[in-house]
């Protein structure tokens, strides 16, 4: 990861954190104002700790955290602003609303610097904005639904007029209905607020659906930051591929460019190897990013978008796209799940290698167990990584 400049011209968030004890927490990332960034990773990856460090609730051993021209943490300069001085809005996972106060008083708590009358008026405005009715505003949190409590928590965070908004697992505890209205609320906030918004989630679908950029964390480390589609299509390493839910991950050997034409086109050859690495599979001509040494063992992935089951349309496709490589396979398992079908197909001639195929719509009817199929692998969707795990 390249070093980040300390100076920060926009209103974005710049973070660099490094800590060994009491728990590992390490990484750099940025989030521009008006951007929604998703911090994703399995539980225990350090997402919430990272959020706490941003809010000032935790003091990492070494950190620089700045928002716009405000430096919130700079351990070298011995700067560590208290949470009270950060103007950060934090929506806790279980909302952390004060149980003894009404919704209105909960929001008023963020506005103690104002005279009582103005405090109430402003709190009411914020609650109106997140669509909590006047009648609901007088209720204690326990008399509100989960989704309503969450919106009160969002109003409380916004009333602080934060320079950074943090949301910890906002979708984990709300039902599908509230979830959809929360999506809309988030989209609205992103349009209107023009501040960086950081969202912690373990749900990748959600992250890909909502975020402008995602930061992948695992075991306390930031592994990769990028646009969701980009991280999904070219994960930095096998661990990121796993975390991003890329199922079609295979072993291989990098052969590099084999002709001048390859070099000119920035293409290289990948030899597909089964797990035992004894037999040899097809050779694929893929983009060469000049990061790999010829002869090196590699891991490679291909997204479902790059796998086509050969039908008449497939042949049409083949004509349009010379980067397709046909592979014979046999369907071993078909599972129908709601609107999609998950199928596994073992590759003929490659011991222990199988595709995971996801199909929806009319295509799903074409699959049944034991069926021989031909899978077209689109080399454009192949991404090769060094074998070393995270």
């Amino acid at each position: 990861m390249s070093a980040l400049p300390v100076s920060n011209t926009g209103r974005g968030l710049r973070v660099r954190v490094s800590q060994q004890l009491p728990m590992l927490l390490e990484g750099e990332f940025t989030c521009e104002s008006g951007e929604l960034m998703a911090l994703v990773g399995p539980s225990g990856a350090g997402k919430t700790s990272m959020l706490r460090a941003l809010a000032g609730l935790m003091r990492p051993t070494s950190a620089t955290i700045s928002v716009g021209d405000e430096v919130w943490s700079d351990t070298e300069a011995n700067i560590h602003l208290a949470p009270q001085d950060r103007h950060v809005g934090l929506v806790f996972q279980n909302y952390a609303l004060m149980p003894h106060l009404s919704a209105l008083d909960n929001v008023s708590l963020s506005l103690l610097h104002l005279p009582v009358k103005e405090r109430k008026a402003q709190a009411q405005q914020w609650l109106d904005q997140v669509r909590i009715s006047v009648e609901q505003q007088a209720r204690k949190p326990s008399a509100l639904s989960g989704g309503q409590q969450q919106r009160v928590a969002v109003a409380r965070a916004l009333a602080r007029q934060p320079r950074l908004l943090l949301l910890d697992e906002p979708f984990s505890a709300v039902d599908q209905m509230s979830r959809r209205s929360l999506y809309e609320l988030l989209a609205e906030l992103r349009r209107n607020l023009r501040i960086p918004i950081v969202l912690v989630t373990h749900d990748l679908m959600e992250a890909r659906h909502l975020a402008d950029s995602i930061v992948v964390m695992d075991a306390g480390r930031v592994l990769q930051q990028g646009h969701p589609a980009q991280v999904y299509r070219s994960p930095r390493n096998a661990r990121v591929a796993d975390l991003m839910g890329v199922h079609n991950r295979f072993a291989g050997r990098w052969l590099g460019p084999l002709s001048e034409a390859d070099t000119d086109a920035q293409m290289g050859w990948l030899e597909w190897l089964p797990a035992d690495a004894v037999t040899s599979g097809p050779h694929l001509r893929v983009r060469d990013k000049r990061r790999l040494i010829s002869g090196q063992m590699v891991t490679w992935v291909v997204q479902s978008d790059g796998l086509h089951i050969d039908t008449d349309e497939g042949i049409e496709l083949k004509r349009a796209n010379p980067g397709l490589v046909a592979v014979e396979a046999r369907v071993t398992e078909v599972r129908n799940l709601g609107e999609t079908t998950l199928a596994k197909a073992s590759v003929v001639g490659l011991e222990g290698v199988s595709f995971s195929l996801i199909r929806s719509g009319p295509q799903r009817r074409s699959l049944c167990g034991g069926q021989a199929i031909r899978v077209q692998v689109d080399c454009d969707w192949v991404h090769v990584m060094p074998i070393k795990a995270a």
Binding site: A82, Q84, L90, F92, A96, M98, H100, L112, H113
Partner: protein
């Protein structure tokens, strides 16, 4: 009816409460929020007055604060203050004796507050003091209230430790519980009966009222 003894007991209970409340809030909250090696030992010391025979506690207080002890002598010489066989001695004894009744419920009450509420308050811009007044104290209030009632009622009825530290000087250290004992000793069972019944009713009323208030507080939340 020994009205003098009753009013002394009420006065002692009120002053004990006044002295012990800030200490109990501070110590209880601190024990609830802090974790360190040796915390169990401190908690054991806090509970000790509850399990120790009052005479043993009274004996040690007398031995360490009496006129013959270094502390007692120093207080006598420097401030001309005597710590035993007077109201001050009584107050010290009942404060020490009531530490567990005050600290334990307060500690449990603060422990029951989810820790992220204080964090949410800090992120909302509340200073530690504002958080204490506006969030922690209202939430811990049922526990604090029952601690206060227990301490008050327990002081009204205490006997052994008060007798050891205060003797039985009418108007100075003769509390209602000691007065009841005296009546029984002098075969004035009618007098003892009246006072015992009064003490019983007062204690029952106070405890029942605090339970009622606590239940209401918890329910309206």
């Amino acid at each position: 009816m020994d009205w003098q003894a009753l009013s002394l007991s009420l006065e002692l209970a009120a002053v004990t409460l006044l002295v012990l409340m800030p200490l109990g809030l501070w110590l209880g909250r601190w024990l609830a929020h802090t974790r360190f090696a040796g915390k169990s030992l401190i908690e054991a010391v806090v509970v000790l007055p509850l399990v120790l025979p009052p005479t043993v506690l009274g004996y040690y207080l007398l031995a360490s604060l009496g006129g013959a002890s270094p502390v007692g002598r120093w207080m006598q010489e420097t401030f001309d203050v005597q710590l035993t066989f007077n109201f001050a001695g009584l107050l010290i004894a009942s404060a020490v004796f009531n530490i567990p009744f005050m600290v334990q419920p307060v500690q449990r009450a603060f422990e029951a507050i989810p820790s992220n509420l204080a964090e949410a308050a800090a992120v909302s811009g509340l200073s530690p003091w504002q958080t204490f007044v506006r969030v922690e104290l209202p939430l811990a209030w049922p526990g604090v209230l029952s601690a206060a009632v227990l301490t008050f009622v327990h002081t009204l009825g205490e006997f052994g430790v008060v007798l050891m530290m205060g003797g039985s000087i009418p108007g100075e250290t003769k509390t209602i519980a000691i007065s009841i004992y005296d009546r029984v000793q002098s075969f004035d069972l009618r007098g003892a009966d009246e006072m015992a019944l009064l003490l019983l009713l007062m204690s029952l009323t106070a405890v029942a009222a605090s339970f009622f208030a606590t239940a209401r507080l918890v329910k309206t939340r």
